[in-house]
Symmetry: C2
Subunit: 117 residues, 2 copies
Amino acid sequence: MEFNVFAKACPSRPTLEHVTGRWGGLTLGVLVDGPLRFNELRRRVDGVSEKMLSQTLQALERDGLVHREAQNTNPPRVDYSLTPLGRETADRLLALIHLLEARMPEVLEAQKAYDAR
Amino acid sequence: MEFNVFAKACPSRPTLEHVTGRWGGLTLGVLVDGPLRFNELRRRVDGVSEKMLSQTLQALERDGLVHREAQNTNPPRVDYSLTPLGRETADRLLALIHLLEARMPEVLEAQKAYDAR
DNA sequence: CAGCATCCTTATCGATACTG
DNA sequence: CAGTATCGATAAGGATGCTG
């Protein structure tokens, strides 16, 4: 079977959107450093709301990229971690993120030039 | 200077969003094969509307990832191509896309398992 | 702590019509 | 051909209150 994200109806496209979406990428990104709990994640992914983080984690879990482990204690404790596939995905994502971060001076330069026209 | 996409106000975050956004990534992805004209792009990025493609291209051009070359002929002809930075970015993006496409069976499997609970 | 439910505001998007 | 302008539907997102 062939998958192609460039095709409108390909099932790979929703998954790509989860991974590259506003919060999906950042969530995967912070999880490469190891498992994190819900509120820990919230703090690291600066700006994400409870609701969005929750939704994002569910989508990533459903895609098999994130593993959710709930301990039935009081207070409750839930650990989120990357699956093997999640880690591979996150690695590629971080390669992109690091490139962009490193080249931001160039980007800002281009923006200034564009706006000056 | 330090850039960090995980920080809410970092200027790198909008750029990451342009690159990983719904249409930005696909647009960069098809441009790796060489320069394309507007309507050619529209056809290849299946599902994108005129408006979204236009906006996407402007954002990518402003970030210095895409080069726009307009010829003042009649009918008009405009070629879009990747800048060197755009190409490096697209390469990383494609690495991610190809990984996901290759592993979609695994993803679909995980989704089925998730939904069955 | 780790969420879900609800409401409400805002941005996104697509469709349509139009221009140089 | 390569767009821009405008509008209405829809979805994303934030704030708040509540639960086990």
